[in-house]
């Protein structure tokens, strides 16, 4: 398959759609959320995550603001749709699965749980874009570890 086909696959409708109309855009007031800024200065991509946690460590609500390439913004947008409400342990597992999918290494626990995110698999053919796809996810991971747990 020529690379231009791979590219089409990478930028499938879903991803272009998320990048053009990102879901869960915006922020919460500072005292009611964890705010994590991630950037990749070498390409100018930026993601600001605003996350509200439940008592049990699961995510009650999440928004983001950002700028950058289609991959970084779409990946973050898809992420915010995916992680709301599910238990902390499962989010951590999801982050790992997503990383394995994008890097094409390790084992994905159950690709079923990834859903739409499975589309990011196409990144494997574009290794220099991996950091774009993971930018928001790395922020989420930091947020999970920095959130005070009871």
């Amino acid at each position: 398959m020529p690379l231009s086909e791979d590219l089409k696959e990478l930028y499938q409708k879903v991803i272009l759609d998320h990048s053009r109309s990102p879901r869960n855009q915006g922020q919460f007031s500072a005292d009611s959320c964890v705010h994590i800024h991630s950037d990749n200065p070498s390409c100018g991509d930026e993601i600001d995550l605003y996350i509200r946690f439940n008592e049990d460590g699961s995510i009650s609500d999440i928004k983001f603001e950002g700028q950058g390439c289609a991959i970084s913004q779409a990946s973050a947008s898809m992420m915010t749709e995916k992680v709301k409400g599910i238990p902390r342990q499962e989010v951590l597992q999801l982050i790992q699965d997503l990383q394995h999918t994008v890097l094409g290494n390790g084992e994905v626990r159950s690709s079923g749980t990834l859903g739409e995110l499975q589309l990011l698999e196409g990144i494997q053919k574009f290794p220099q874009r991996i950091k774009c796809a993971l930018l928001g996810w790395r922020g989420l991971e930091r947020a999970l570890y920095s959130a005070k747990l009871t």
Binding site: L3, C43, G44, I71, R129
Partner: protein, 406 residues
């Protein structure tokens, strides 16, 4: 437009397919390709003459030394230096600037002094001065960039206060294509006793450069952007200024007498060239200059300007395009633009799958991107081996990209 397409035969790398399409290499501002003559000069050196320079008394060492110093003469003449002793070999523009920002600054910069640069400098001509300012207690100031991509020189006389000890400016902007009036600026500075450094990374090998005519104290450039090997470049320093500078690196070849306690040093250029130099790189740089001179530097400039004009004219076809930099005829041979529908990285990725090598991003000029409020831009940069047919091909691909991303 003059036709230089026969020169493509001299560049083995250009005749390849990338992702099933003929390569169109428009990333020359990042690094140029190398002609057979330059590659051959390296092979010839390693197969016949390789030895350490300056220190031997045997045949290979003498041959290597002669070739090395001959290249110095060539490079010095090529940029119009007064003497080969004013030319110091470095790894490239970045090292050249850092040498001055360390050594000149350590001798001449005092607390309260000002280094004046511009808003369109490459990171390599910003960060070293920020570091030098931190060390010395001096500060940095900049000349703003106007909307049309030229320098805002209206208040230049007010900016050139007595505190300013060094003025530095890019000759040709790698992000905008602007050619700055370096001669006028250096003349002003000379009168005021302000030292000057011109970043010629995008100028040398693209247009005629004469450092004495410009009247700068330092001029810096990279070989890899002008057909020479990677890892070699130059620093021109006016003899009078170099003579006042303390040594840079310590080591072999830059010393006169070494004891276990202290040492004495040679004069320029040896004073600033400690250790074994990149001998093959220097010889390759000489070969690159020979090659460029057979074409003629003015023809190279003319061809680059014509290609750029043509590209800029055709780019306006694209919906939602914003073209950066001056629209005047006298420009560097590159054009940068921003498409509303696609982030530069997405666009460059798309281009690559069609065999087109563009560059997307901040081009090591983050402050400039901020000034124009864009996350980055896409850039097509040309050299004499590029053709208008290749620009047509680029336009075909960009049109497709617009459809794809819209």
């Amino acid at each position: 437009m003059i036709d230089l397409s026969h020169l493509r035969a001299d560049f083995p790398i250009l005749h390849q397919q990338v992702n099933g399409q003929p390569l169109v290499y428009f990333d020359n501002a990042a690094s140029s390709q190398k002609p057979r003559a330059v590659i051959d000069s390296l092979v010839h050196y390693y197969e016949n003459d390789n030895a350490n320079v300056h220190r031997g008394l045997h045949a290979l060492s003498n041959r290597a030394t002669d070739a090395f110093e001959l290249a110095r003469d060539k490079v010095a003449r090529f940029i119009g230096a007064g003497s080969p002793d004013e030319l110091i070999f470095t790894r490239g523009t970045t090292e050249s600037i850092n040498l001055v920002a360390n050594i000149w600054a350590s001798e001449f910069l005092k607390p309260g002094d000002i280094i004046l640069y511009t808003g369109m400098e490459h990171h390599s001509n910003l960060v070293p001065w920020q570091l030098a300012a931190q060390k010395s207690g001096a500060s940095v100031k900049h000349i703003p960039v106007l909307e049309d991509g030229t320098l805002d020189l209206e208040n230049i006389d007010a900016l050139l206060t007595e505190q300013v000890k060094l003025f530095t400016c890019v000759h040709v902007s790698n992000s905008l294509g602007t050619i700055n009036p370096v001669k006028e600026l250096c003349t002003k500075c000379r009168v005021l006793g302000i030292n000057t450094l011109i970043d010629g990374a995008q100028a040398v090998g693209h247009m005629s450069v004469n450092v004495q005519d410009i009247g700068c104290d330092f001029y810096v450039f990279s070989g890899h952007k002008m057909c020479a090997p990677t890892g070699i470049g130059g620093l021109y320093g006016r003899a009078e200024v170099l003579a006042k500078m303390p040594p840079w690196h310590g080591g072999g070849e830059m010393i006169n007498l070494v004891t276990l306690e202290t040492s004495t040093y040679k004069a320029a250029p040896a004073r600033f060239e400690a250790g074994t130099p990149d001998i093959a790189g220097v010889i390759g740089l000489g070969a690159a200059i020979d090659y460029l001179e057979t074409i003629g530097i003015d023809r190279i400039h003319e061809h680059g300007a014509a290609l750029t004009r043509y590209a800029m004219q055709r780019l306006t076809e694209l919906p939602g395009i914003r073209i950066l930099g001056p629209t005047t005829a006298d420009r560097g041979s590159l054009t940068a633009f921003h498409l509303a529908c696609a982030h530069p990285h997405d666009l460059v990725e798309f281009a690559n799958t069609h065999g087109l090598a563009l560059r997307g991003g901040h081009h090591c000029t983050q402050p400039l991107m901020k000034r124009f409020q864009i996350p980055g831009s896409s850039r097509a940069s040309f050299y004499f081996y590029n053709t208008s047919t290749e620009i047509d091909r680029m336009m075909e691909i960009l049109h497709r990209a617009v459809t794809f991303f819209s």
